[in-house]
């Protein structure tokens, strides 16, 4: 693999991305534009996350890649292999061992620690986008903290469904200043965004935006006094490991409507099952 520069991107591009990352860390929640490159995968497959990961990786890193919490889905496997080939870094499925974790739509269940970096793949970074289509106007709204519209969206939810029905990509306010889209993670994961020991970086390739939450940043999910934010999940234990505190996927098991709920975080689930087996033995 000597044909490639370390971690695929050339050093100038990495430098450009790192500058954007520095700015993003300095202004938590603020969307920094960057010159997103063509990557050897289609938009929507995590081109933003891959570029951020590439710019962060060092040869000593241990990389973990998850898609909806799982290490073994196509997207996760492809990206992990991509970095194995182009950076030669060690890979792992264990959350605790990883130094860099690229994720699509989840935050791992195992609490992250200082020194770890969590890289999110972001499809649409602008939380105001579906309410205000004009980019010029949304940027002005961020600049002027003109966020009444964000609550209009939640108001509409309650008016229509009797409760805030937004269940993923639930908007948050960062350090009392910028309203941010946390990428399409379930709102169950929202409480983990704030006060997290790890550095959280967000990359949107097609939209060419990078933003960040430095460790221990204050992150508040938007809500109403009489309709407070609730980090909800399916009301079941995991069918495999019995966990009651983890986010669950619903799996259809037959064509008679049979279904089961299992942890979406495969590493967490496997770890619990192993511990259980070891205890039994």
């Amino acid at each position: 693999m000597e044909d490639y520069n370390f971690a695929y991107l050339d050093e100038q591009t990495k430098r450009m991305i790192r500058r954007a990352l520095m700015k993003a860390v300095a202004i938590p929640g603020y969307q920094v534009p960057f010159a997103s490159r063509e990557m050897p995968m289609p938009y929507g497959w995590g081109t933003g996350g891959v570029q951020v990961t590439a710019a962060c990786l060092t040869p000593e890193d241990q990389l973990k890649v998850i898609d909806q919490g799982a290490d073994d889905t196509t997207n996760a496997v492809s990206i992990r292999k991509f970095f194995q080939r182009t950076a030669g870094v060690a890979v792992t499925e264990a959350t605790a061992e990883a130094t860099v974790i690229q994720t699509r739509h989840r935050i791992p269940e195992t609490p992250l620690t200082e020194g770890q970096i969590l890289v999110y793949q972001v499809p649409i970074p602008e939380p105001l986008r579906f309410l205000e289509p004009r980019e010029v106007e949304t940027r002005r709204m961020h600049a002027l903290e003109d966020y009444g519209l964000m609550h209009v969206k939640l108001y509409e939810d309650i008016a229509k469904h009797g409760e805030i029905a937004t269940s993923y990509a639930y908007p948050v306010k960062v350090e009392g200043r910028y309203v941010m889209d946390p990428s399409p993670i379930p709102k169950f994961d929202n409480p983990k965004l704030g006060g997290n020991a790890a550095l959280q970086l967000f990359g949107a390739g097609r939209e060419q935006r990078i933003y960040a939450l430095p460790p221990y940043t204050q992150v508040v999910s938007l809500d109403f006094e009489d309709h407070p934010f609730v980090a909800s999940k399916a009301d079941h234990p995991c069918a495999l490991c019995g966990a009651t505190d983890s986010y669950l996927d619903e799996v259809i098991v037959d064509d008679e409507g049979g279904r089961m709920f299992v942890c979406s975080d495969t590493d967490y689930c496997t770890g619990r099952q192993q511990a259980w087996t070891e205890d039994a033995a």
Partner: protein, 255 residues
Amino acid sequence: MTPLLQVKSLTKRYGPRIGCADVSFDLYPGEVMGIVGESGSGKSTLLGCLAGHMSPDEGQVIFDTATGPRDTLRMTEPERRMLSRTDWAYVHQNPRDGLRMGVSAGGNVGERLMAVGNRHYGRIRETATDWLGRVEIAADRIDDRPSAFSGGMQQRLQIARNLVTGPRLVFMDEPTGGLDVSVQARLLDLLRGLVREMGLSAIIVTHDLAVVRLLADRLMVMKSGHVIEAGLTDQVLDDPQHGYTQLLVSSVLQV
């Protein structure tokens, strides 16, 4: 009494052309002022400059804020935006420009409340319902989108959305334009009642002399960017001094 708004030598140019030139006036609390003139006379430019939508080249627009009179043209953009959602309101001629067409009537009315920090859904909805009633929109339409409303209803919704935070100054750009006459009459009556009850001051731009006669206490007549005549509305209309105003008044079709 301190004027609510003091406008001094306001001038706006579009390159070599004049938008409006050397406009000065005072507006006192509770006063309604009309600005009339034909298309291109500069009345909309003037309104845009007053409301902070355009930046004039010269002059001052001094508003009596909660902390005393301040030149709004020298305010920072966030300060001006705050003012425009607390103390000011702007009613567009076309309700589509002033409403969020994809958001329910209740959401439209509630937006300003949420923008100034209201975070109690129940109270926001209660206030929105109350305001829909005040502009004669049935409470059961609260979750309908404005696209399902008639033109007159849309305009009344826009007024509710603007007045919900109890502004002190309302800018109106041809508020009854594009509505048929019977709907216009109802809207005029509504506006008069609200102006009286809330002690609002208003600046109304229109080319309809009948509208200003019924709504405005005072009148400014503009031509080619200049104010050529100003005074009590009925005095300007019944005893116009300037040749252009005389022409304007005598050109109105009698019904």
